[in-house]
Symmetry: C3
Subunit: 151 residues, 3 copies
């Protein structure tokens, strides 16, 4: 595998690594934002959570604001986690570093916008569709490049 | 780590990389298929989606067909994403390349079958159970091989 | 990239690899435990599952025990999978091996405790909060270390 890994541009790998941890931080913030939203709406789902806060509180399922943040978070799992895998493999296909850097940055921006317009403040469509689509297109492009290279 | 990575069979890594991106493409298709199913059933969950399509449309939670595709997709997250990690580490344990190739291909086939019988067209059990079980068994096998090698 | 990967301490990578596959095994057990719980409560969600077990059985959505295990499992996806990525990149930042080993082990212990107090047997808070918090803090710490190193 050394022959595979040795051809990765170290500068490009650095960019991949830096933006990957930024995306992870963004994902973890969705988790914290879910908790913030549960407290704001006092909508907790586990009996032991409710008990630890107030004896009068009841379990509340399906609060729309909480569920909205959770859908945004799940969308991250569906799109960002596979991106980490494909982008890592894409780095091994000897891409043009400047082009690959642009693709990685486009994904980071689009996923941050997606979280803002989905989880934080609803914005009329097609804001979410476009932000979702950028990452989807870049990931599919990388899949095709990898499939052609590794086939 | 060079001593670890250098022992990976480049041909085997190529097979891992190729089939991994195929599995990622399959996962992304579940996402698109969810959207297709939402349009087919006109079952949208976000107020801004509904508004952007028709003034008369209402938000619909829990459409059985949409939820079915979403469960199939979530099952991918639960099984394919951990497989990427374990299979990558398994490549470093110096496995027989022909055996490892068979395991990887078995997982790919079983996950594609799983998506077909779960997300696309319900088929009587044990079709889904078997397709789910193949990946589960291969992943557990790789976990054991890795645990014995890296302990 | 060879210059990046060559600086990884092989012993530290071994520890990362070993505990990663243990965490994957723990995640897969959540999947099996969901099935066990569905049988215990006879709460199946797909028509073809119900049919294959008994003609009298009906589909049951939202059984509290099943949903509880599923939430614990989803929490794994949200926290363990990003940890795999960040921890791998963190290994490339030339951390002190003994410190990095402690961080990895803390995450493993905290996630096993989290599964026990969430999925297996409800325990009064703040048991789950603390077990969740350890992994969250370690992951954020690694994100910051990686961001500073790769920027």
């Amino acid at each position: 595998m050394s022959n595979l890994l040795d051809q990765v541009n170290p500068e490009l790998f650095r960019i991949y690594a830096f933006w990957s941890v930024i995306l992870v931080a963004k994902m973890l913030l969705m988790s914290l934002y879910t908790t913030v939203t549960r407290f704001r709406k006092m909508a907790f789902i586990n009996p032991e959570d409710v008990k630890s806060i107030s004896a009068k509180l009841k379990v509340i399922f399906g609060d729309p604001d909480v569920e909205r943040v959770r859908r945004a978070h799940r969308n991250d799992l569906e799109n960002i986690l596979p991106f980490f895998v494909v982008a890592f493999l894409y780095l091994l296909t000897n891409p043009d570093p400047r082009w690959a850097t642009k693709l990685i940055r486009a994904v980071v921006v689009s996923r941050i916008v997606h979280s803002l317009v989905y989880g934080l403040m609803p914005v009329p469509q097609p804001a979410r569709l476009l932000s979702f689509g950028v990452t989807m297109l870049v990931t599919f492009y990388m899949v095709v490049q990898c499939a052609l290279y590794f086939v």
